[in-house]
């Protein structure tokens, strides 16, 4: 066993973990702001990847225009989704919204499959950095993975700044702590909810664009969202840094169990981790532990 090989496996795990983390970030944003869980996050990612594919291949736009326009378009789509279907049932039991987002996921997946000539294919997303590798003293690293890690880091910094310094971010924090109180303070909670959904959809679209070069673009790629749930739980649902850390944990555990353990363990590793986590530390690594005082 060489060190280089282990490092490569770790790098793969980190890259995959960043993708999980980005999707989990979407869950956490929505959960923090509206206390609801969106099961459509993986499918939003799929939509983003398909939109990117369409713009690149059918419309023939250059890559550097495609990326921001996909993110913007998915952001608008997320806001539209919130306005049309999610906001009417806010305040209903959390489970209704879970079912609603499952429904949205179904529709998104089915609608993509229905596009003739594209929906049922698996295609690769042609990005400028595809297939390039960098070598550091025997360790071969794929540029795709490095881009994922770098983008995630930049995005995290941007989100941190948003929540720490901007008016909107601080308003979002207030609304996530107590919506009624925030509303009384004059914060437009409804508009913020729309913004949060837009942000979550945009992050999902970015994850889709990042993931597409290392896997393929197909209608079922949204199922990766199911593995982002463990990431969100391990980090502590509702904690933004926790989502990324949880994603990294899941990605690394998966990569290592794929490397050291027999076949089959890789697919369930994430779920085993989350079950253990729920048994011993249900609030996750960074979760806030709140108790109701009577």
């Amino acid at each position: 066993m060489q060190l280089a090989q282990v490092l490569q496996v770790l790098m793969g795990g980190v890259a995959q973990g960043c993708i999980y983390g980005l999707i989990a970030l979407g869950f956490c944003l929505i959960y923090k702001a509206t206390e609801t869980v969106s099961f459509a996050q993986g499918d939003l990612m799929m939509l983003g990847a398909f939109l990117g594919l369409t713009l690149l291949t059918v419309a023939g736009l250059p890559f550097w225009i495609t990326v921001p326009s996909v993110i913007l378009a998915m952001g608008l789509f997320g806001m539209l989704l919130e306005r049309l279907v999610v906001s009417p049932i806010l305040g209903q039991p959390a489970f209704s919204i879970v079912m609603l987002t499952i429904g949205i996921g179904y529709v998104a997946r089915g609608a993509i499959t229905m596009i003739p000539g594209m929906g049922t294919d698996t295609r690769a997303l042609e990005v400028p950095y595809k297939g390039e590798v960098l070598e550091f003293g025997g360790v071969v690293l794929a540029v795709e993975q490095l881009v994922i890690v770098a983008t995630t880091a930049v995005l995290c910094a941007a989100l941190f700044a948003l929540f720490k310094y901007s008016r909107v971010g601080i308003a979002m924090q207030a609304a996530s702590q107590n919506q009624i109180a925030a509303f009384y303070m004059g914060i437009p909670v409804k508009r913020l909810n729309g913004l949060v959904w837009a942000l979550a959809a945009a992050v999902a679209a970015l994850a889709g664009l990042l993931l597409a070069p290392i896997t393929f673009v197909h209608a079922n790629m949204g199922f990766i969202g199911l593995k982002a749930f463990p990431a969100a739980v391990v980090g502590g649902f509702g904690s933004l840094p926790g989502a990324i850390v949880g994603g990294l944990v899941i990605g690394l555990v998966e990569a290592l169990s794929g490397f050291y353990l027999p076949e089959g363990f890789k697919d369930v590793a994430a779920y085993v981790v989350v079950l253990v986590m729920l048994m011993f530390k249900p609030n996750g690594l960074f979760g806030e532990s709140l108790r109701k005082k009577v």
């Binding site: 509206t34 206390e35 869980v37 079912m99 199911l226 369930v268």
Partner: protein
Amino acid sequence: MRFLFKTRYDQDINLAKHGGHVGWYGALLLLLVAAPWTFPDYWLAQLTFVLIYGIVGLGLMLLSGFTGLFSIGHAAFLGVGAYTQAVLAAKGWPFPVSMAVAALLSAGVGAMVGLPALRVKGIYLGIATLSFAAIVEEGLARWESVTGGNAGMAVASLQAFGWSFDSSEAFYFVCLVCSVGCTLAVLNLLRSPTGRAFVAIRDSEVSAQSMGIHLAYYKTLSFALSAGMAGIGGALYAHKIRFLSPDQFNILQSIDLLLMIVIGGVGSVHGAFLGAIFLITMPQLITLAKDYLPEAVGQAPGLQAVVYGLVLIVFVLFEPLGLYGRWLKIRTWFQLFPFYRQGLFKRQKSFQKSDRLK
């Protein structure tokens, strides 16, 4: 409008509240018993599926609709039941015994999953069940010496004590007896102290606990009963479908089961069966509708997913009580005939309440 004049306390817990119930449910039972002679073979097979899914739905309804614990991994229990039944049937065990073992094994697994339910709630529980289901599915695929792995395994026909239930009519009656039995069991459970405790836990854990309900015990019990019923359903499913493979019990199946009870109507026994009817007949309706749709839409593979998703969204948005709720509204409209008001069943508007402090 019917006014019930109660003269005994027993009337509060009677299964049939009035003569109308006896008449209508008796007629339904007669129709079901006569079905093999009145329905064509194809529809009898569909009806058998409705009964099987109805049993599974009843189990999930008990857990989600009446105890308020949502499971996004119920297909795992279905799978455990189905594979147990398949393995035992291959060994020549008589049907009632093997089905009991399948139900017990599923119930045991359910109780095990119920353990994290004692510490976590809400969405965490959903994720715990989802994770568990994924592990079970992978286990079924990898334990090749018993389950045949991804290649699948064939299931022997149903037999007990020298009798063979080979024909579809005989098998239909087995399913009918099982589903009627399960329905009666659930109804009976719901009017007993145990069922009342379940409903109390659903409505408010804190109040249930302060009334002396042992949360851990009742939650585990609910999980075990629900999984046991899924196991019975799974045992019948194995014999109906005749060929098992792990991907029949994946996350999509779990979501289909949830979709079934949400569309049927969460929190009603009728809902389980109405949802099962929806789940089984919808693909047929879509197939029928395909001929009238333009080719680009009708022949597309994603049509079914889109229809399911849209129906689910529409129900959650506009009819949260599901098909059964719609029926209640229609019935009330007739009962109150000129006096039905729009707002009679209106959902109460509420602001977002935090679950985090529960």
